[in-house]
């Protein structure tokens, strides 16, 4: 024990000396990848990003960013992030009331209208690029709309599969108890915990259907989406009881226990089930989702649709965004 503490103290001594001197020799923030000096080189692309990005607020708090897509003040954004958005502001400080016009679940996009004087809003210019090569520069406005954040396309463009809702339980093997499927563990704070399920409970039915295997339970639940309700018939100490559980997101439920997620900070609730995304490493907060991402010439490559972890943002490519926008617009005309 004595020798161990000795060793520890020596090591910590060395580490402190190292960090102390290291701090003074670290490259200044100005010159780093996201330093102001680097940002200046992005010139017109930076101005374009700031000019066409919109802050969406609820009760004075930023909840998402959006992009101006039309001189009349139409704004596209991430639908699941901006529920209840009341107000919008631009980089020049102008503020507007907001009205929702359209929503589309599969792409998680929504269309809003800025309400106010004027029909000469700036609008993004779209990129036609269909496949963004890894290592390509990308940039987005930082959420205060004074700076940008820069980085590179970092992974293959691909569809992201649906994850389905989860209860937040770990099931035992079904062979052990013929009466039902044992709940071995309940994840604290997750959907099942909030509904009052306990470890040791036996699941006999899911939505009225008798279940014999744990896989059967998982399949039935996974068919539903986060936010859907599932009714479990539970056998607890000889008593039958029904529980209504509002399903949670897989990421939020299990990632609480994942060190990577603890290191990542808040991530988007919905980060699954997108028809196509490209991925990049921009350091953006969860509240900066819904905003546009640009290339070096200031053309809009797409919309940041999910903050996945601290190295990953998913973006919907411009092709998909524009198809959706055209659908939204034709819907408006019809009215």
């Amino acid at each position: 024990m004595k020798r161990f503490s000795w060793m520890a103290s020596l090591l910590s001594l060395q580490v402190f000396a190292l960090e102390d001197e290291n701090q003074s020799r670290l490259l200044g923030y100005e010159l780093r990848l996201n330093g102001k000096s680097t940002q200046r080189a992005f010139a017109e692309a930076k101005e374009e990003a700031l000019r066409t990005t919109v802050r969406l607020e609820r009760n004075g708090k930023l909840i998402a960013l959006g992009l101006l897509v039309d001189p009349s003040g139409l704004v596209l954004t991430k639908a699941s992030s901006c529920i209840g958005a009341r107000e919008a502001s631009l980089t020049n400080g102008e503020r507007y009331a907001l009205r929702i016009r359209k929503r589309h679940e599969p792409t998680d996009l929504a269309l809003y209208q800025l309400i106010g004087e004027g029909d000469e809003f700036p609008a993004v210019r779209w990129s036609n690029l269909s496949n963004l090569e890894n290592g390509s520069w990308v940039l987005s406005a930082f959420h205060e709309l004074q700076e940008i954040r820069v980085g590179v396309a970092s992974g293959k463009t691909r569809p992201i599969e649906r994850e389905g809702g989860v209860m937040g339980v770990i099931l035992g093997s079904s062979s052990k108890s013929p009466q039902g499927i044992t709940i071995r563990e309940v994840v604290p704070q997750a959907a099942a915990d909030k509904a009052g399920l306990l470890s040791g409970d036996l699941i006999t039915k899911v939505d009225g259907r008798r279940v014999k295997t744990s896989n059967h339970v998982v399949d039935l639940v996974n068919d539903k989406d986060p936010g859907d309700v599932v009714v479990l018939s539970i056998l607890r100490k000889g008593d039958d009881r029904d529980f209504r559980i509002t399903l949670g997101h897989r990421s939020v439920t299990f990632d609480l226990f994942n060190r990577n997620m603890q290191m990542s900070g808040p991530v988007s609730k919905r980060k699954d089930n997108f028809p196509l995304v490209f991925q990049h490493d921009l350091p953006l907060e969860r509240e900066a989702m819904g905003g546009p991402v640009f290339d070096l010439s200031g053309k809009c490559l797409g919309i940041n649709i999910a903050r996945v972890d601290r190295v990953t943002v998913f973006s919907l490519p411009s092709k998909i965004v524009r198809e959706r926008l055209e659908d939204f617009l034709s819907g408006l005309d019809a009215r």
Binding site: M7, L31, L33, N34, A41, G135, G155, D309
Partner: protein, 325 residues
């Protein structure tokens, strides 16, 4: 008089005016910071020309209780990674190549001091591999790119690239502002010539100050890492002990402290001495000294060569035991 002064000034201006000329010849990634979209495009095209080859050398390492990354640096499948990824020496594990193919591997050695580790893929002679940098070629401010499998292998996603700059480099640690996440550990950091300059080690709580093991740490202890067991903090206690702390410099290891009552103090070593050799072998890194000393037994004699006030001195020192001092 004033005319001559003007002339002088003019000559000086001419001299200085050559400096911008030299600056112009620099590649965009060698400038203090990129100045224009053109510079940014140059950085991008250099990165993209290096990426396809670099990606092929990256592996995901499946240890059974977690996943990390690594980089193949020889066609026979020697892999550089982090000690905390492989855990211990002689463990069977699987690696996945960039295309998803699974191969058998066994963990070699490394050091818990720097977190350097090695791994050998078995039965292959034709693997894609990355060149490694020579020592002292990377420095603070250099552009670099990190590759790895953050969060584990995903075939549809592929190897993930992050761009950054070296923000700190000292002794057995390098720091960059390229973004890392668990699963990246052990993956390679490349310079803008496509050579491995470091291996990802610890993910910092500050996302733009992550830690890497500089290639110098591997180069200084190559045979030891490849052929011996991982040097653990516990095993340090069993080996010989000097009692000095030092920092690395271009010419040797600068002593910054000598602990009271230790063999080093008894032998008359003091702060400011520059250690250059132990038993006739050049001391290249701090870790190199610690490993060399710890591989001897307490009571064994070592000969330290060092500089003091311009004089070359040499002392024979009887190593102590860490626990006793």
């Amino acid at each position: 008089m004033s005319f001559r002064f003007f002339l002088l000034l003019h000559v000086q201006l001419c001299l200085f005016s050559q400096l911008p000329g030299e600056v112009l010849e620099k590649q965009a990634w060698e400038k203090t910071s990129p100045q224009s979209l053109e510079d940014l495009r140059e950085i991008q095209s250099q990165l993209q020309s290096l990426l396809p080859e670099a990606e092929k050398s990256v592996v995901s390492i499946e240890t059974g209780d977690g996943a990390g990354s690594g980089v193949i640096i020889s066609p026979e499948g020697l892999v550089l990674t982090a000690a905390h990824v492989i855990g211990s020496t002689g463990k069977r594990m699987k690696v996945r190549l960039h295309d998803g193919k699974r191969l058998s591997a066994v963990s070699l050695g490394g050091s818990e001091l720097s977190d350097a580790g090695m791994l050998q893929i078995k039965g292959r002679k034709d693997l894609p591999f990355a060149p490694i940098s020579a020592k002292d070629l990377s420095s603070v401010g250099d552009w670099c790119f990190a590759l790895g499998h953050p969060g584990g292998f995903d075939s549809r996603r592929g190897v993930i690239v992050r761009l950054g700059r070296i923000i700190g480099k000292k002794d057995e640690t390098m720091q960059t502002d390229s973004r890392l996440l668990g699963g990246d550990s052990g993956g390679p950091l490349f310079d803008f010539e496509g050579k491995v300059i470091a291996i990802h080690s610890r993910v910092s709580t500050q996302p733009d100050q992550n830690f890497h093991i500089p290639i110098e740490s591997f180069l200084a202890n190559w045979d030891f890492f490849r052929d011996q067991s991982i040097l653990t903090l516990e095993s340090l206690a069993e080996g010989g002990f000097l009692g000095i702390s030092c920092q690395e410099s271009a010419r040797g290891l600068l002593v910054i402290g000598v602990l009271e009552g230790t063999p080093a103090e008894k032998a008359g070593i003091h702060a400011g001495d520059l250690l250059t050799q132990m038993d006739g072998k050049f001391l290249s890194t701090r870790e190199n000294l610690t490993i060399s000393v710890s591989q001897k037994k307490p009571g064994e004699l070592v000969r330290l060569t060092y500089e003091r006030d311009g004089n070359l001195l040499s002392s024979e020192i009887k190593l102590g035991r860490r626990s006793e001092e």
